[in-house]
Amino acid sequence: MLTHVLSIVADGVLLGLIYAITGLGLSLVLGVMGIVNVAHSAFVMLGSFLAFELFRRFGVDPVVAFVLALPVFFVLGIVVYRVVITRVQSAAQTQGLVAMFGLMVLIENLGTIAWTTDTRVVTASYTNASLVLGGVVLPHVRLIAGGLALLLIGGVWAFLRFTLTGRAIRAMGQNPEAARIVGVDIARLSAVMFGLGIACAGAAGVALAMVFPFSPNTQVVWLAWAFLVVILGGLGSVASTLAAGIAVGLIQSVCTAVMPFDTVYLVLYVLLAVILTVRREGLSRAVRRTI
């Protein structure tokens, strides 16, 4: 019995680490910049297909793809910021939200054209291997994906806490006018922040591809997961996002163990609705401009 419980907890924590990086970029971009990036999950999906294509075409291990995804998606995020967000950020909130929704639909449809709606998997050499510790089975792939997620979370936390640029990003989130007063170029740093958020999304996509089957349509599920993490953990805090991700992972793991799999998603969506109802302000406190 104890072994079974420990397996559920270990599975939940490892899944939760991956969910945490899925929500991290969304949380930071929303918390620091006030941008509701509903296209976040589309970049998660692109990250999954980056891992898929690198593995299929070149035999690149997903671990390497995870590392590669960071600079690739960082640059992609900066391009999206410059091309899309700078054009709509002064518009009405609904226009910005519609623009990001449009970007999400565009990416999903381009993904469907490129990869169809077939479900894909990335099967690395260690996909079916497991580590057994005191009777607790830990699949290698979840250990590796969870470990990579933890490293990324630690790296983002250290960047925001210990570097001057990271502190400037936090400062920008707390008081943008004062940040300008001390000489921070808000537009430039916002591009960096958005790039960081998309880099997290791309890396999360790689980690998810290591663990779950995926298709271009799966991104809608990841969007709900990411929002669940953000709503549960609050905005802009790496530590809270980590805790929320682990909480979601544990809830899913426990639900999977005690009820039919089909109802697990139902429980999580009900949880999302309940939290939004209890926290009546929802995301509004953080939304200075909705894009």
Binding site: R170, A171, R180, I181, V182, G183, V184, I186
Partner: protein, 241 residues
């Protein structure tokens, strides 16, 4: 320190097209002096400072720092030119520590970490009471302590020109007096100070030269001595009573 003068000529500015708040303001803030801008609510004092600080683009006219026209420069580029701004109200980063707040004052020096560290140390030496608070979140400090953090942060890049907007708002009389004393100390170091204030008596007490705006235009101006008479009458005149 050789601070350049700040010269404003024919300045028009506003927030809504066709409705300028400033309608031809002329002003000179000389080096090593405190130039005070007074006026009733709606006269355009804060708008003037917003333009000079780069937060609002002028519609017409010029803002010259020495020989450089800074009117079109965005706010974040002013620090590198040696301009510091102490805005009205709280402007700390509340969740950052005092030390992190002060360090961010040297953002323009970020590529020279040694110089930045020395500048932060110099400021903490200047304000030793902040050294004891340096690990505290700025948002947890009293209003007066936060004002000190803001002043310290402004001084990290050693600005030659200081733009100060109603520095005593929300402060106790004792702390407010200390802030005005600090402005006098900064003037003694040769800095150019442009002070916009509602506290007529306190501002005139530290002023070298005073401008009074009315409806977005220059109204009256003169040395401090010209304003040391019946201040009450002047304020009553603004209020129209």
């Amino acid at each position: 320190m050789t601070a350049p003068p700040l010269r404003i000529a024919g300045l028009h500015a506003g927030y809504v097209p066709g409705h300028p708040i400033l309608r031809g303001v002329d002003l000179v803030a000389e080096a090593g002096r405190i130039t005070v801008v007074l006026g009733p609510n709606g006269a355009g004092k804060s708008t003037l400072l917003k333009v000079v600080a780069g937060f609002l683009a002028p519609l017409r006219g010029s803002v010259m720092l020495g020989d450089d026209d800074i009117g079109a420069l965005p706010a974040h580029r002013h620090v590198a030119l040696g301009i510091g701004l102490l805005p009205q109200g709280r402007s700390t980063f509340p969740d950052l520590t005092v030390e992190e707040n002060i360090e961010l004052g040297g953002w323009s020096m970020r590529n020279d970490r040694r110089r930045l560290a020395e500048a932060v140390e110099a400021v903490l030496t200047r304000y030793p009471h902040l050294r004891a608070l340096r690990r505290r979140a700025a948002g947890s400090l009293s209003g007066g302590q936060q004002r000190a953090v803001e002043i310290a942060r402004m001084l990290v890049p050693d600005p030659r020109v200081l733009l100060v907007d109603e520095p005593s708002v929300g402060l106790s009389p004792i702390v407010a007096r200390q802030v005005y004393q600090e402005l006098q100390a900064l003037r003694a170091e040769g800095r150019t100070i442009l002070l916009v204030d509602q506290d007529v008596r306190a501002a005139i007490a530290v002023a070298d030269y005073v401008y009074v705006l009315g409806s977005g235009r220059n109204d009256i101006e003169g040395d401090r001595s010209a304003f040391e008479g019946d201040l009450g009458a002047m304020v009553r005149g603004w209020l129209g009573v």
